[in-house]
């Protein structure tokens, strides 16, 4: 990221404030429009091959007390971000939330962090910059990578060259908040294996899966952070590595895959930058539950609702997903990744993954 980028982001924020100013002067009701961030308003961009927001817009308008408060907070946040960029500092989303407590105007203070997060997303969309351009960091650090990859990271203490197998401990290489500061030097990996849970990641590392299959094991840590998705996307685009995603066999995990492959609904404005549409789903597939006779839990009501809502989610409207989701609704069961241990600790690395990856044409 360059200083230009930051300057541009700052100008765009000030422009937004100027827009409110002009609206006041014209006797108009101050307002800003942002795309509606729901699953009903995302559509497939054929050209870029990712899911982006559709035409529907929500208007944040000072017409109501709630809307007016939102805009007031937006203006205060704009001022804060502009100052931050001026000073070359950065802060986290959570810090922004707490910082608002220090603002002289109580009406401008955030009532919870969702509100401040959402506002930053609004500002990203309206200004066309990313949160990283505003120097806003997410709270959770990026996840980890383990595998035959050599890279150079720009840190505050200078450049570091790191090999993600040899130079790191059992925990792997920690992905920084802004992966765009990384330069890839050398890579012996054949593919990327993104894993949902820490337990499974540790199992794969312990079993030496990364070594044996030249796999780059990326730990997703549940719903992946932007940094994790960004680096995955870069690894795929720049090193031409196939991406595979290995999660639990339940509706929430399918969404994890969805956000890696198609982008999340909340950050569809950044899909182009974060999503890896070529990512493939390994499992646990509902079909695997049947085929491998895995231990299961019954689907809860919320699971069923989530599955049904996925059937309507445009991102999942493919033959493959419809088949899998309908199968799961039929068997009314779900399984975790670690249920594979019911066939022995090595089953996942010796049987399941090789079989699945072979089927998928990755191996």
């Amino acid at each position: 990221m360059s200083a230009d980028n930051e300057q541009e982001a700052r100008e765009q924020l000030i422009d937004l404030a100027a827009q409110f100013y002009d609206q006041f002067e014209l006797g108009e009701i101050p307002h800003m429009s942002v795309p509606t961030r729901t699953k009903n308003n995302i559509e497939y961009d054929e050209e870029k091959d990712v899911w982006v927001y559709g035409d529907r817009e929500s208007t944040r308008s000072a017409n109501s007390v709630r809307g007016a408060r939102k805009l007031l907070k937006a203006v205060y946040t704009i001022e804060f971000l502009a100052d931050q960029l001026d000073e070359g500092r950065s802060s986290t989303l959570r810090e922004l939330y707490y910082l608002s407590e220090s603002w002289d105007n109580e009406e401008a203070q955030f009532s919870d962090q969702d509100e401040s997060n959402q506002l930053v997303e609004d500002l990203e969309i309206v200004s066309g910059a990313t949160r990283e351009d505003f120097h806003m960091r997410p709270e959770e650090s990026g996840a980890t990578i383990m595998g035959p990859l050599h890279l150079r990271e720009q840190t505050r203490r200078g450049e570091r060259e790191i090999h993600c197998q040899k130079d790191v401990g059992e925990g792997g290489y920690q992905i920084p908040n802004n992966p765009d500061t990384i330069e890839f030097l050398d890579c012996d990996a054949d593919f990327i294996l993104a894993v949902e849970t820490g337990g499974m990641r540790d199992r794969l590392v312990e079993n030496g899966f990364d070594d044996e299959y030249n796999a780059l094991i990326v730990h997703l840590k549940g719903q992946p952070a932007r940094a994790t998705r960004r680096i995955t996307k870069r690894l795929h685009d720049e090193l031409d590595l196939p991406v595979t995603v290995f999660t639990d066999g339940d509706p929430w995990s399918y969404r994890i895959y969805g956000s890696v492959a198609y982008g999340s609904i909340k950050s569809a404005h950044l899909s182009e930058y974060l999503a890896t549409p070529e990512a493939q789903f390994i499992g646990i597939q509902p079909a695997d539950i049947v085929e491998y006779e895995l231990p299961t839990d019954p689907l809860s009501d919320s699971d069923v609702n989530a599955l049904e809502s996925e059937l309507e989610d445009p991102r999942f409207q493919t033959d493959y997903w419809e088949e899998q989701i309908e199968l799961q609704l039929e068997i009314e069961k779900k399984s975790e990744q670690q249920s594979l241990a019911s066939h022995g600790l090595d089953f996942v690395t010796e049987t399941y993954l090789p079989e699945r990856l072979d089927e998928m044409g990755v191996l």
């Binding site: 100013y21 609206q23 000072a62």
Partner: protein, 825 residues
């Protein structure tokens, strides 16, 4: 002394012995023992009741004489007793009637009159005298002067309870400074614990009697309630009872007393709203109940093998061929013209035909001939077999279609029409056959097929029961009712003369039929000139006078009838302002302009107020029933020629359904206004709140935006007006050499059309006024008046020019201040 044993038989019987101690009780004695029934159950209450009775009488007396009431009440402490003095400016009482009015219970002019008045039974004031003499042992002292007489009469009297007659101890003439009026002085054992009720009574009386002047002097206080209007309530007129709601016993009593000979005359003479036409309708309804209706059957259709012509000819003997043929022809043709024909209609047809043929042919058609013709035709119509045919065995009438009589086909059509289409055809046919069977059976007793509705219900029930039993199908209540209804509709009211009054008199069943008939007939609501409602306007005025509230609503219902007495219910509601907001709403009850202060819980009014779901009308009501909470006064006035009270003390209106219904409707009517007021107030409150919050946020936002962009603070008034959907009135002034061009722009951002009244007060004469505006000069100021109507999302502009240096002052009306933004430049 002999033993009881030996004398028992010789003594008079125990019953006789007991009878000796049985004796008539005078009404005065009865109430002496049952003071509580009249509202004199305690010293505290006794005083209030005595005031109430005296004041009610005084108001009635003055109003009746067309005098604006001026009433003075004084309560003096007199050792252990209280002395009550009530003076009025009424017409006064004559020497003869005065002692009875005050010294005899149940003496009065109102008891028999159907006219609204405060007093009704003639108990109240004499009961107060009775209570006074019982507790203090002193007589009532009464002074009265009639208009025009030079002296006043002075009496001291008590009620002789043994025979309920006044016992006069002093009777003399005296002088009195009032030109006319009555003064009563009572001494009684009492206390002032019920001061609150006393004040309530006086205050509430003032609310509903704005034409009266009231003064109350207590040992420590003095209240005056001045007149709010010089308009006396409209004089009431006595009316006769209304046919709806008189009871059987009353009608029987009226029958004994009437001078009328006929029922029609009786109805027209003794009841209100009954003229010739209504009387006829009532009599028809009576006939239906008393005599029943006659079944009308369809005349034979062409395809039916019934030849009425032949039947008449066969039945007519020795009248010559031509005359007979003409007679038969006339009857057959006339009958054919009917859709359906009843026996009595057939009689008429035959009579008419006979007379016509008599005229044409000179042949006499006597009663026997006519009867024979009727019998023959009727027999064919109802498909009865005559004796000859029955003997014949195979007459052609029954031969081709055995069992399928004309009645079955007729009833089948009626029943089929009346029952649901889902009923099986066979079932309906079977039912029709059975019903026809009942009619057939009846033919033997009464060939005319004359049935009361009850008879018809029995027929239909029987046929339906049999159908259910044998055909194993359901024939439900609704279906039965529908069939009864359909048949009853085609049946004809009989022309029989109603009995004369003297025949009816004493015939309980017939009278009951008459009362039922009266109730079933639609009759115009009773005239209301016998009633004196306060009127919605005066209720509001009365409430405004006595309560400082934000909102007043009232409703006056149309007159209704209960027990032959017309009544009107009125309701009023006051809300907000200085009214007590803690606790339940106040309920003020009135009957014939008299406040009811005791027995609130026993009153129909209270019951109705409690039963209403006040939450629907925007008031709090814990648990969704009971008295509503909040700063509200609910007032209900029942005006009737005879208010049904729960007891003689007249504290509570009895739970009479018709009255309760009207009370509810009246309250709901007023409450609907309250609701829309509260809704509006709430939306204005919301708007004000929104305006307050936005009025804080938006300037802050504007300030911040200016700070961030490094510009001057923007002007936000227009934006705020738009946000608030307000009506924005903005004046712009443009310098134009040595004059100024002024334009006043109205921008309606609200969702509704707005009519504004705009006045711009200018210090110099304006010129070049745009259309629609007028200028009035007053004391060197020019009032530019403009009343534009601006529809939603539209604009209107007023333009004029003034010399330089003139000042303007804008005044806008017609829009709530919450919805208005005025921007003067």
């Amino acid at each position: 002394m002999t033993s009881f044993q030996s004398t028992l038989g010789e003594e008079p019987g125990i019953a006789e012995e007991l009878a000796e101690s049985q004796q008539a009780i005078s009404i005065a004695e009865f109430f002496e023992k049952n003071k509580h029934m009249l509202g004199f159950d305690s010293g505290a209450r006794g005083l209030v009741t005595a005031v109430k009775e005296a004041v009610d009488n005084a108001l009635d007396a003055a109003e009746e004489a067309g005098i604006l009431p001026d009433i003075y009440v004084e309560i003096q402490e007199e050792g252990d007793y209280y002395r009550l003095i009530v003076e009025d400016n009424g017409p006064g009482l004559t020497k003869e009637s005065l002692p009875k009015v005050f010294g005899k219970l149940l003496y009065g002019s109102r008891f028999h009159a159907r006219e609204q008045s405060r007093g009704q039974q003639g108990i109240g004031i004499s009961a107060a005298v009775l209570y006074s003499q019982l507790t203090s042992g002193k007589p009532a002292k009464i002074t009265s002067r009639t208009e025009g007489s030079s002296e006043a009469q002075y009496f001291e009297l008590i009620v002789d309870t043994d025979d309920n007659e006044p016992e006069i101890s002093v009777e003399e003439t005296t002088t009195w400074d009032r030109p006319h009026g009555t003064r009563i002085e009572l001494e009684m054992e009492a206390n002032m614990r019920a001061r609150q009720q006393l004040h309530d009574y006086i205050k509430h009386t003032a609310v509903v009697n704005p034409h009266a002047r009231l003064e109350l002097r207590e040992p420590q206080a003095h209240f005056k309630f001045e007149r709010a209007t010089d308009q006396l309530p409209e004089e009431t007129e006595e009316i006769r009872p209304h046919p709806h709601g008189v009871e059987l016993g009353t009608v029987m009593k009226m029958l004994t007393a009437t001078d009328s000979q006929t029922v029609s005359g009786f109805l027209q003479e003794e009841f209100t709203r009954v003229g010739k036409k209504t009387a006829d309708s009532i009599i028809d309804a009576f006939r239906d109940r008393h005599y029943g209706r006659e079944m009308r059957w369809r005349p034979p259709a062409v395809h039916e093998d019934v030849d009425l012509h032949a039947a008449v000819e066969d039945a007519t003997a020795n009248k010559g061929a031509d005359a007979t043929a003409a007679f038969a022809e006339a009857i057959a043709e006339e009958v054919d013209g009917y859709d359906r024909i009843a026996h009595h209609e057939l009689l008429e047809v035959v009579d008419e035909a006979a007379e016509a043929v008599e005229d044409d042919h000179g042949t006499t058609f006597g009663d026997t001939v006519r009867e024979n013709a009727v019998a023959a035709v009727w027999r064919d119509l109802v498909d009865a077999t005559s004796e000859d045919e029955a003997a014949d065995g195979d007459g052609d009438a029954g031969a081709d279609e055995p069992g399928e009589s004309r009645l079955v086909a007729d009833l089948y059509d009626l029943a089929d029409e009346a029952t649901s289409t889902r009923k099986d055809d066979e079932v309906v046919r079977a039912f029709a056959e059975r019903l026809a069977g009942k009619f057939d059976d009846a033919t033997e007793d009464d060939v005319r097929h004359r049935l009361t509705r009850d008879d018809l219900v029995a027929y239909v029930d029987r046929a339906a029961d049999l159908t259910e039993e044998y055909d194993d199908v359901a024939f439900g209540d609704t279906a039965r009712e529908n069939v009864v209804e359909a048949i009853w509709d085609v049946m004809a009211t009989v022309p029989d003369d109603p009995p004369l009054v003297r025949e009816l008199n004493g015939d309980r069943d017939a009278t009951s039929d008459l009362v039922d008939g009266m109730r079933a007939t639609d009759i115009m609501a009773p005239p209301t000139r016998c009633l004196s409602p306060i009127s919605a306007d005066l209720i509001e005025a009365g409430l405004e006078k006595e309560f400082d509230a934000d909102f007043y609503a009232s409703a006056t219902r149309d007159a209704e009838v209960s027990g032959g007495d017309p009544f009107i219910v009125e309701a009023g509601i006051a809300y907000g302002g200085e009214l007590e907001s803690e606790g339940g709403a106040d309920v003020m009850r009135f009957a014939n302009r008299v406040p009811l202060v005791y027995q609130r819980g026993a009153c129909a009014t209270t019951d109705v107020v409690k039963s209403i779901g006040w939450r629907n009308y925007g008031l709090d009501q814990p648990g969704g029933s009971g008295l509503p909470k909040g700063p509200a006064v609910i007032m209900v006035h029942v005006a009737s020629t005879n208010v049904p009270f729960t007891s003689e003390s007249k504290d509570a209106v009895a739970n009479v359904p018709e009255i309760e219904d009207e009370i509810e409707l009246a309250i709901r009517e007023a409450a609907r206004e309250l609701k829309s007021y509260l809704n509006k107030r709430r939306s204005m409150q919301k708007r004000r709140k929104k305006q307050n919050v936005l009025g804080k946020i938006l300037p802050e936002m504007a300030e911040k935006v200016a700070e961030v962009t490094g510009r001057e603070e923007p002007d936000i008034d227009d934006a705020i007006a738009r946000i608030m959907n307000n009506v924005l009135v903005e004046r712009q002034v443009e310098e134009n050499g040595d004059s100024k061009a002024v334009s006043v722009v109205v921008e309606n951002n609200s969702g509704t059309n707005e009519s504004l009244e705009i006045t711009d007060i200018v210090s110099a004469e304006p010129t070049d006024l745009s259309d629609g505006a007028t200028v009035v000069e007053m004391d060197g100021e020019w009032f530019v008046k403009w009343e534009p109507e601006v529809s939603s999302d539209d604009e209107a502009t007023l333009e004029y020019e003034v010399p330089d240096g003139a000042s303007c002052d804008l005044d806008v009306k017609g829009v709530e201040s919450e919805k208005l933004t005025v921007n003067e430049q």
